[in-house]
Structures are given as structure tokens and as C-alpha cells.
Amino acid sequence: MTDAKFEVAGETLTLMPERAIYWERNKTLLIADPHFGKSATFRAHGIPIPEGNLNSDLARLTQAITRTGADKVIVLGDLLHTVLGRDDETLGSVQMWREQHPDLQITLVRGNHDRHAGDPPDVWQMQCVDAPITKPPFVLTHQPEPSADGYVLAGHLHPLALLEGKGKQSLKLPCFWFGTEQAILPAFGSFIDGMVVRTVATDRVFVVTPGSVQRI
């Protein structure tokens, strides 16, 4: 696992291939857009998508926590995909995962999907707050929007970067996208499509492969 370090607003952030940011000074792990229950939503509409992504996503979260020793997780919105996705399988798997991490403090900054899907069950013991919240020097939110209160960390866009190489090669990969006023995290969920973002020269972009984060 090759992480990348990036300094922004005077803080050092660790960008992880687990599609998470670790803010070491605060022992806080940041993720965005897990969209838990998306495959369950498909099944609820009679579309036979097997489950599997949820457990691999949860395992990836565990790995990020183990590697960093984080004691707090903040989810930047869209924790659950839909109301229909709240089936026993999805709720049960996340609850089981929660029971293995009883001391972890988890906060959900609500996103647009959370408004329809509803807050997580009480047994998950997650604090739910409306966006944005301030953790100086950062403003944590779901939908990106520059703020006077600090540098914004957001999700919502599921950003992908387009890489071009010699011999007319190209690759689309999830990315961390740092602008001058705000940064967008890659979608944490693996059953999620992304969108190729248009960057400008002052942006800093880091692509995510299964084993590394590399700056482009």
C-alpha cells in the first residue's frame, strides 16, 4: 500500500488507496459516498445483483482504520443509497462491522441521498449532522461549495481522472481532486460509477489504484 501525503491549509493529509483521507493530527479518517445498500436497491426492483461489494467495502474501511489507528471516522454524505436499500442484509452487515469497532467515533455529515434514505439505525451509533460542519481549518460537507469558513472537503461528484500515456494509452481512475478552495474525495463505495472531472492548472490530482495513490 503506497499512500501519498499532501499539505493543504497548513495541515498534512494522508491520501490512501482505500479511498480515504487520514487527518493524522486529529486521528480522523474521512470518507465520502459509501452508498451502502445500492445493490439491495437493485434487488428490491427485481434486478438480480448479488451482494459482495458491501463486505469488501467494509473490509477496506477496516483496513484503513487498522493501518492508521484512527479513532474517528467522518462520512461526507451518502452513507445509505435509498430507503429500499435498507434491507436486513445491508443493515445487518454494517451493524456486525460496527460491533467489531465499538470504540470508534463515527459522524455522518448528511448528503442528498441520506435525506431520502434516512439516518442510520441507532444501533450503528453514528452521530448525524447536517452539512456543513467546521473542523478548522476545514469545512466538511457533501456537495462541494466554496466556504468563507475554511478549506472545503466534500464528496458527491465521484471524481475520475483521465490519464493519457505513450502509444495512445488512456486510463480512467478514481481520484482525490484538490482545488484552491476545496477538495473532492473519490467515492468510497465500489458499486458506484464516476465522472471524469475537468481540472485546471492550479488543481492537484491524485489517482487511486488498488495498491497506491499517485499524484499526476
Binding site: 505513450k166 502509444g167 495512445k168 486510463l171 458499486f191 460509477d193
Partner: protein, 828 residues
């Protein structure tokens, strides 16, 4: 049988029935099914239509019903299936025409996605006496709970333009629907109308179905030949200056002035293109050169609003339009007698296709059909010359039926589940009477039923999520969501999500694909229906636009790839190359190509039919290998993936691949171990199937094919113009779903189908094998060239590329980034 009414009405039109029409009327009266094979404009429609009409006239006294002294229309008797909804209203007019004269109280209506809601509501409980519909709309009718009742008086099914449906999943969908109708109405007669194809007997068998093995019935069918004597003339516009480096697409428009001359010299011209994008482009350029033609020329393709298409068709009928630029949307159907010239832009792709398009012109008896081909790159002249040879020798393309497409079957099961339900054994027997599923094994059947009734092996833990439920031993659909989602996504036509384009205040214009919309920003200009539009916003699944003041906008691209060259044509092309090699130039097209062949021969070589030419060269892009089997794009895509896979086994390397109808290219940043690979069986037939399977996954070809399968099987929800927002929660790309299935349900038969389809219909594995065997029998000629040759050029500039890699993702990213770093360090 009394044919007098037909003779009388024909006489009012100044016609006398042809012998083949008499033959069909008699055969129908005798209870036979069959297929009519004849070019357009020779009376196929009335040959089929008068058969059930004459029957009814004969038995009318017993079956007619009077209410208050007035005869009321009998319920559905004739079902008329058409492959293009654009044909429906024309067909309706043609069928309607003789009814009043004959005093037949039948109603004739259409039912397609273009049919108005009022008419559709009226048809809810009672269908017209004759219904004109598409395979998709027919499936929707079969999905009604009162389906059996709706069809209880059905006597005849006519499938128009059957050759168009053959070899497609829509054809399989039609076969399944016909099997259903035949079970309900065992006396049902099926008649197909078909243009010339290479395998008429197979086309007939597919139409009428195969024996029900348990009942031992062997349906037989009659093949009726119409008048086939039409004369056909194929010519080309030869560019005055021949570019020796053929640049795809660029040449065509420079020939526009000469196309305009043809339009000027004729009353009505149809200009056929190969893509919707090309249609928009040519229309735009024509108007720019001849602004005074505004209102007299028009364009026609399947992504235009129904009203716009109808306006164009009416304009053609009344002779008001001078010229229409169109795609295959006007290849078929009822004739426009005023059309006296046809033009083909770009490669004809197939002999039968060129013949069909030519046949749209020159309908008067004794007048030849003429088509003028306009190359968009000079090499396309080769295909024109080859097509002329193929047609002259009567070697037209075969259209084989598809075998066991699991996705269409899965969709059909839900359709039948909605339309009254089924018991497994009975429906299995019914499905096996289609040509497509005659070899379907009990295991494959069980898998399909389990997939919709049990969610498949990976989903047995989720009984609440099944599309079908069992009630009293029958599989039925009970869930409202499932029913609604299925009705919305019925059909087999592949397409990206289509979004409706509409003026902020006013009319609908047409559809564009979502992938194109996502790249638009407010204020961006694009062209649709020949109008330059300014993007305002995307709201509730509609693209809102206003008229732009600019004269040009980006032209959207629609998915739905271009056709490959047919195998018949490729063999004629290789023969043409032999002539070029031997300096024989015996038609205008070949003579025009002379400078290209000359340069190709000087720099490299013109391959003989038993040779495979490989060119090796190096440019600043990297190391290039060009192969020229001249076998058509699909075979080349497969071969390219295979070659790349075999080469990548020797070293960690990444190739990008390009393919066209003539050859393919492998490009890599590092030199591949080509000589070593060639000596070690690069082109060998040994281990072929295994290597192909691996290369399919390596190149993502299977994943690409899965796109269509996922949609047909209901794994990907299609968004419809004006569709509901709630579907947004169900968005996942087929490639994402492919990955999920590959990871968590690897035994899923739809994945296997994707591979099989790529192998069979896409890459034509047997054709690929034949190609390799042909190469093995012949000679491989490797030319090391200092720069890309005329043959290489169109491949070189192709940017749609597949990738095959034996490097890790991390390494590839690292190399790409190093390259960016190097640029960053270079002085500006």
C-alpha cells in the same frame, strides 16, 4: 377461391396481379405459411394483405356482426409486424386503401412507441381488425394479463422486411412471440416478406418455426419468388485528385459539389449515410452551400422526433422534397415512387445492403435502379468495386439465426409471466419450437427460469427479490415495481440512455444520448435535426434548449457501431487486390485507386489473396505493427486482441489496438518481441480458443458486449425520454455490473453469453479460425517500413482504441505520470 374482388380493385389502380400474388392467395387459402422473396416495389404488401382479405370476403356472411343495422369491425384478425416504427403509418395507409372499395368494415391501426395515448387507450380492451406493430410493441401486448383474449380471433401474421430482423435479437424476440401466438392459435398462418438474402431457406425456417418434437408436427413453408428482374447500376463519384493517404471521413464532403449536381439533375434524391452523425453533417453542409434549398431538403434518422420524421415521409410521398439525407431509417418499406436517384455516402459494407438501397430509386417498370457511391476515404472505392462483383455473381450475404441468446429468453420469461403466467415444462416446449432455441438444453432452460424466479445461484438467499413468483404451479409476476420496470425496458435494441431534446418553450426535437449530454455546459451549441441548438439545462430527464444564433454546433454521436464489411465482400476485395498486384485495373474505381496501390507497392507490398502482409514501423507515438488480413472489422478486432495477448505473454507491455475493415494495428511504447513471437506461433491455430477467451477478458471485448446483454436481461435500466426520476437510483453502468457478477457470481450465464456472443456473432470465432487457417496455408510477408504506408494511414489516425496489457495498473500509472513529469521539466 374467389379472387374477383382483388382483380376488381387492382383494375381500379390500373394493375393486374402478378402470378406470385395469385400463388400466395391460393396457398394462404389452403392453410399454408411461407415467405415472399422479392425486391421492394414489386407488390409484396398486397400479395400478403389480400390473402386474409379474400378469406374474410368469402366467409363474411357468417362472421360479420351488425349493431343497429351497421356492420362493426371484427376483432383482431391480422397482425402486421414491421421492423421500423417509421414504416407503420405508411403501411397503415397502404392497407387501408382497398378497404372502402371492397366494402370491408375492418379497422386498421398502428401500435408503436409513436402511437398516441388516446389510440393506445382505446386498444386496451379491443384491438383493430388489422394491427401494425413492432416486435417490441408486440411483446408489450403479450405482457398484458388479457393477452390470450386479445389474440383469440387472429388468423394471420405478416412479418414485413423479415430479412432485417433475421440475425438480430429483435428477430429472436419475434420468433418467441410467434411461438406464443401459434400455441394459442394453432391454425395461425405466418407470412414473411423478405428482400434477397443469401440463405432464403433458413430465413423461411426461422419464420415458421421448427417441429414441436413431442407432438411431431413439422410445419412446412412455401417460398414464393416475386419479380426479380430489376436492373441495377452501381457507379461512384471518383475524386479528381486522389489522396494517397486515405483519411477516414474527410474526403466525402469535398465531393459535395458533385453530389449537388446529381441532386440538381433529378427530381427526388435519397442520400444514404452510414451513421446519424454523418446524416446531420451532410445536411448541414448542403444547406450551407445551397441556402436557397431550405425547406426543400430534409434529414431523417431514428433519433428525430416522430412528428419530424412523419413530415419528411409525407414530403417524400407528395414529391415536395428535393432531397432527403437519411440513415438506414429509410432503407426499408413502402415506396416513394418519386425517388429517382440514390446516393451512398461511405462504404457500402455489404452487397445486399447496397442492392437494397439502390432499389429505393427507379420504381417505374423497365427503369433501372441507379446508386452512386461517394467514398469518404479513397480505399472505400475498393469496397464499391467488390460489391459490384459480388452482386453480379449473385453472392449475397447470409443472415444466420442467433442461437440460444439467454438475455432475450430471460426477458421473454418475465413478459410471459406478466401475460398470464406459465408452467415451466409447457413453455420450454413452446420456446423450443423456435429456430433460435431449438437446441436449448433443459439445464440452460432451468438456469433462465431460476434467474428470474430465484435470482440465480448467487441470490438464493434473497427470495423477496424475485421477478417471478409461483402461484398454483404457475410462474407469474405479482410485483407492481417489477411489472412497471419490465414494461419500460422491453426490447432488445441497444442504446445508451436516450434523453429527449425540447425547446424551452415549445416543440420536441429528438433524442440524444446521455453520454453526450454530460459533456455539455450551459451555452454549448450542438446540432440536431439540422438545427443549431443552445444547451440551457438538463432537468427531469429532458434536455432543454433554445435556438442558437450560430451557424454551427457540435454534432452528437450516437452509439450503435458501424457495420463491418461482410465476409462475401471481403473475399471479393482480396480478389481485387490480386488484380491490383497484377496491374489489372478494369473499372473506374480501381483505376482511381491506382496511385495508392502504386505507392503501397513501392513502399511496401500489395498482398496477394494467399499472403498476410505485416508492416513494422516506428514513429514518435511508439512501435507499430500493422496487419492486413482484409477480413472485416469484427474479425480484425478479435485478431488484434489475440495477437496483443500472445505478444504480451513474452514481456510486460501495453498495447493499444485499432481495427478497420482492412486490417488492424498494435501500438506500444516499447518494442514488442515480434520476431520471437512470430517464430513461436503468433499466428498459430493451436490453442486458439483458449487464447481467444483470455484475450477477450484482457481486451474488455466481452465487457463491451455485456452492455447489450445487461440491458436486454433487465440488469441495466434504460432511461427513457421523459422517464421518471426515481429510476436514477438504479443507475449503474453495465461494466460495473459485469465486474460485480464476475467477482461475486462468476457462474452467471449472462457472462458466458457475453463471451459466446463476442466469439460467435461479434468476432465470428469460426471466421477468425478460418482466417488463421487461410494465413497458415499461405505466406506471411513482413515488411519493415520507414514510415506508415497508405494502407496504414487510416488505422494510424483511428483514436477509438482497445487496450491489452500485461503490466500492473500501478506500473502503467507510474509510466504515464513519468511522462507528464518529463513534459513539465521541458523548457516551454
Amino acid at each position: 377461391m374467389n379472387v374477383a374482388p382483388a382483380l376488381q380493385w387492382f383494375a381500379t389502380q390500373g394493375w393486374t396481379p402478378f402470378p406470385f400474388q395469385h400463388e400466395i392467395w391460393q396457398a394462404y387459402a389452403d392453410g399454408e405459411s411461407g415467405m415472399i422473396h422479392s425486391p421492394t416495389g414489386t407488390g409484396k404488401t398486397y400479395a400478403a394483405w389480400f390473402a386474409p382479405l379474400l378469406e374474410w370476403l368469402a366467409e363474411q356472411p357468417e362472421t360479420s356482426v351488425h349493431v343497429n343495422g351497421k356492420q362493426i369491425a371484427p376483432p383482431l384478425r391480422v397482425l402486421w409486424i414491421t421492423p421500423l416504427r417509421a414504416l407503420a403509418s405508411d403501411t397503415a395507409n397502404a392497407l387501408q386503401a382497398p378497404l372502402e372499395y371492397l366494402n370491408v368494415p375492418w379497422t386498421v391501426e398502428t401500435r408503436t412507441s409513436d402511437t398516441s395515448l388516446t389510440i393506445r387507450n382505446r386498444q386496451r380492451n379491443r384491438l383493430p381488425t388489422a394491427l401494425i406493430t413492432t416486435p417490441e410493441s408486440l411483446s408489450l401486448l403479450l405482457a398484458r394479463d388479457n393477452a390470450v383474449m386479445l389474440f383469440s380471433d387472429l388468423c394471420a401474421v405478416v412479418v414485413d422486411e423479415w430479412h432485417e430482423l433475421l440475425s438480430t435479437k429483435r428477430g429472436v424476440q419475434t420468433e418467441l412471440a410467434l411461438a406464443r401466438l401459434r400455441r394459442w392459435r394453432p391454425e395461425l398462418r405466418t407470412w414473411g416478406l423478405s428482400a434477397t438474402v443469401g440463405n432464403l431457406d433458413a430465413a423461411l425456417r426461422t419464420l415458421i418455426g421448427v417441429a414441436d418434437y413431442e407432438r411431431g408436427e413439422v410445419p412446412c413453408g412455401r417460398l414464393v419468388q416475386g419479380d426479380l428482374s430489376k436492373q441495377l447500376l452501381i457507379q461512384s463519384i471518383i475524386p479528381e485528385r486522389i489522396e494517397r493517404f486515405p483519411w477516414a471521413g474527410h474526403l466525402g464532403l469535398s465531393l459535395l459539389p458533385r453530389v449537388l449536381q446529381i441532386v440538381d439533375a433529378n427530381r427526388t434524391t435519397l442520400i444514404f449515410t452510414n451513421t446519424r452523425n454523418q446524416t446531420e453533417r451532410w445536411y448541414q453542409e448542403m444547406l450551407e452551400m445551397r441556402p436557397e434549398w431550405a425547406g426543400e431538403i430534409a434529414l431523417h434518422h431514428s433519433s428525430l422526433d416522430a412528428d419530424a420524421r412523419e413530415w419528411v415521409e409525407n414530403g417524400l410521398r407528395t414529391g415536395k422534397l428535393k432531397c432527403v439525407v437519411c440513415t438506414s431509417s429509410l432503407d426499408l418499406g413502402v415506396d416513394f415512387p418519386v425517388v429517382d436517384a440514390a446516393i451512398q455516402i461511405g462504404s457500402p459494407k455489404g452487397a445486399a445492403r447496397l442492392m437494397q438501397r439502390a432499389g429505393r430509386s427507379g420504381h417505374q417498370p423497365g427503369v433501372a435502379s441507379i446508386i452512386t457511391c461517394v467514398p469518404t476515404n479513397t480505399l472505400e472505392l475498393l469496397a464499391v468495386s467488390a460489391a459490384r462483383d459480388a452482386i453480379a455473381q449473385g453472392q449475397l450475404e447470409n443472415r444466420p439465426s442467433l442461437i440460444n441468446p439467454q438475455d432475450v429468453l430471460v426477458q421473454h420469461l418475465v413478459t410471459v409471466g406478466l401475460g398470464g403466467g406459465f408452467t415451466s415444462g409447457v413453455l420450454y416446449r413452446e420456446v423450443r419450437t423456435t429456430q433460435a432455441y431449438r437446441t436449448l438444453t433443459p439445464a440452460e432452460w432451468a438456469w433462465a427460469v431460476d434467474f428470474v424466479a430465484g435470482g440465480g445461484a448467487a441470490l438464493h438467499n434473497y427470495p423477496e427479490y424475485n421477478r417471478l413468483q409461483q402461484e398454483d404451479g404457475k410462474y407469474v409476476v405479482t410485483d407492481k415495481h417489477v411489472a412497471q420496470a419490465h414494461r419500460m425496458s422491453i426490447g432488445t435494441i441497444l442504446g445508451d440512455a436516450q434523453l429527449q431534446v425540447q425547446y424551452v418553450r415549445g416543440a420536441k426535437i429528438g433524442n440524444i444520448e446521455e453520454s453526450f449530454v454530460t459533456r455539455l455546459k450551459r451555452g454549448d451549441k450542438f446540432t440536431l435535426a439540422g438545427q443549431v441548438l443552445e444547451f440551457v439545462r438538463l432537468h427531469e430527464m429532458k434536455v432543454w434548449v433554445r435556438k442558437a444564433k450560430n451557424s454551427k454546433g457540435v454534432i452528437p454521436r450516437w452509439f450503435g457501431g458501424s457495420l463491418p464489411l461482410s465476409e462475401e465482400l471481403t473475399s471479393h476485395i482480396r480478389e481485387k487486390l490480386r488484380q491490383a498486384h497484377d496491374e489489372i485495373y478494369n473499372d473506374a474505381e480501381m483505376r482511381a485507386l491506382h496511385p495508392i496501390f502504386q505507392l503501397q507497392a513501392k513502399w511496401s507490398r500489395i498482398p496477394l489473396p494467399d499472403e498476410l502482409l505485416i508492416e513494422v514501423t516506428h514513429t514518435r507515438d511508439g512501435y507499430h505493427l500493422f496487419f492486413y488480413p482484409f477480413e472485416g472489422r469484427l474479425v480484425h478486432e478479435g485478431l488484434a486482441a489475440l495477437m496483443a495477448y500472445r505478444l504480451a505473454r513474452l514481456q510486460p507491455i501495453t498495447f493499444t489496438l485499432a481495427a478497420n475493415d482492412y486490417g488492424f494495428e498494435l501500438l506500444s511504447p516499447e518494442a514488442p518481441s515480434f520476431d520471437e513471437a512470430l517464430a513461436g506461433g503468433l499466428l498459430s491455430v493451436d490453442g486458439l480458443l483458449d487464447d481467444i477467451l483470455h484475450s477477450l477478458n484482457a481486451s474488455e471485448l466481452a465487457k463491451r458486449q455485456f452492455r447489450e446483454i445487461a440491458r436486454v436481461a433487465g440488469l441495466v435500466m434504460q432511461r427513457f425520454p421523459g422517464g421518471q426520476k426515481t429510476m436514477k437510483q438504479l443507475q449503474a453502468s453495465s461494466s460495473l455490473i459485469y465486474d460485480v457478477l464476475a467477482n461475486y457470481d462468476p457462474a452467471n450465464l449472462l457472462l458466458e453469453q457475453a463471451q459466446r456472443e463476442v466469439l460467435q456473432s461479434q468476432l465470428e470465432a469460426t471466421r477468425l479460425q478460418r482466417t488463421l487457417e487461410r494465413i497458415a496455408r499461405g505466406k506471411v510477408v513482413v515488411e519493415r517500413v520507414p514510415r506508415p504506408t497508405p494502407f496504414a494511414f487510416p488505422l494510424l489516425i483511428d483514436h477509438l482504441r482497445q487496450t491489452v496489457s500485461s503490466e500492473t495498473l500501478e506500473d502503467r500509472v507510474r509510466k504515464m505520470i513519468e511522462r507528464y513529469e518529463k513534459w513539465a521539466d521541458e523548457p516551454a
